[in-house]
């Protein structure tokens, strides 16, 4: 029945000459295959209940998320600077948040039970990925655009912290917008996906709500940590010990393509 709706969308595309039907059908097919493979993998991982396998999956997830954070910004730091920042920020914020949740609020036995650790890590990484990407992109773009104003302050004797202050704050604020919107809308405009799944599975609404509140708090904490971490590490990378702005540490189009 659900598949019929996808077929109907494709048919509408043909009738209206939208030329989207191939993309819709291909994306739907990919989605089914990917999710089935993920389901098979998770069945194996849950059955194994091995800390080594759980850790390997978590490391892969963090690595994939870190790569997305690194390549998303328009501006890149030389010498894989974006990647170094993203690995540190994504790794620390996600592991710290998930470990805290598993060991204090959720407390499965064992605490690293993959049935809890892996889905939780997936949700947290989604928030971390958004926040870190937006923060890093906002700061690196902003530091180029605002260079004259930043250096004007430095030239008058301001510290690098004072000169960069407004950009740091605006970059972190911008990175937090999605999660703040999500919290504001929850329960009034939207029912979050996790809560929807639990209600469909027959869970008591109050219990489902408790888990959802916990999750949103976790996402906010992880997202805030990731945003602030990405922005502050980028600020450190783009300045030096004499408190100079070092935009020469940003890759140019030719250095990014490997040309001299």
């Amino acid at each position: 029945m659900a598949a019929a709706l996808v077929l109907a969308s494709a048919a509408a595309s043909v009738l209206l000459h939208l030329d989207l039907h191939r993309q819709v059908l291909w994306a739907a097919t990919r989605m089914v295959v990917q999710l089935l493979l993920v389901g098979l993998l998770l069945r194996f991982v849950f059955k194994a209940a091995s800390p080594a396998v759980t850790l390997a999956i978590v490391v892969l997830m963090i690595g994939a998320a870190a790569r997305e954070v690194a390549v998303r910004p328009t501006r890149r730091l030389r010498s894989a600077g974006n990647h170094r920042i993203s690995i540190a920020v994504v790794g620390i914020s996600s592991v710290a948040t998930v470990a805290l949740a598993l060991m204090t609020a959720i407390r499965p036995d064992p605490w690293y039970d993959p049935r809890y650790a892996i889905p939780l890590m997936g949700i947290v990484l989604g928030s971390v990925l958004n926040s870190a990407s937006l923060g890093l992109d906002g700061f690196l773009e902003g530091v180029v655009i605002r260079r004259p104003a930043i250096e004007a302050q430095l030239a008058l004797g301001a510290s690098i912290h004072e000169a960069l202050g407004e950009l740091l704050r605006s970059s972190i604020r911008r990175a937090m917008i999605p999660i703040v919107n999500q919290m504001s809308a929850a329960g009034i405009i939207t029912l979050p996906g996790i809560m929807t799944g639990q209600l469909l599975a027959g869970m008591d609404p109050i219990e489902a709500v408790k888990y959802q509140i916990l999750l949103l708090f976790l996402l906010t904490g992880a997202g805030g940590l990731a945003a602030a971490g990405a922005v502050y590490l980028a600020a450190r990378a783009i300045t030096d010990e004499r408190q100079r702005l070092r935009l020469d540490r940003l890759a140019t189009a030719s250095t990014r393509s490997g040309r001299r």
Partner: protein, 198 residues
Amino acid sequence: MLSISGLRSAHGGPFDLELGRGECATVVGPSGVGKSLFLRLVADLDPGSGSVQLDHRLRESWPPVAWRRQVVYQAAEPAWWHPTVQPHFPADSMECVRASLAPLHLPTAVLDAEVTRLSTGERQRLALLRSLSRAPVVLLLDEPTASLDEASTLAVEALLQDRVRGGLSIVWVTHSTEQAARVSHRRYGMTREGLRSL
């Protein structure tokens, strides 16, 4: 008191310059030869090598913020980081700033104006007052009168010459040899080979 020797970066140099207290050194040269680069190197805004000393003390021995409070740099196109003018000035400098407005043909109301509503000439004169409000020992000026008419140019020169007589030292980049002749104690010419005393 300002002694520069062998100052260079990957993009220009070497530069040598000597400047005493209460002196004005002008630097003239064609566009693109490195005059702005030279000033940015002295202000420690760009990395470079060579020796820069203030009162026989190497620049590297100064914390960077302390150096730039002593040696203030004003770019050819001064930038602004707040929508209005007044927040760009230290609160304790406002009395002196207000007293300097009239000599530069600026109305008092300009301090409450939005920066985007000011003319280029007004912004350039206000930028000069902004630099002077930090009470530097050395002022590095990159074409400070480029956008001004003749009357405003002479007013700026008079203000700065008065400050020089009071002990301020200035390195003044200008494209005008006539201006250099009016304001200089020392004159330098810049070419692609570097800086030389004229």
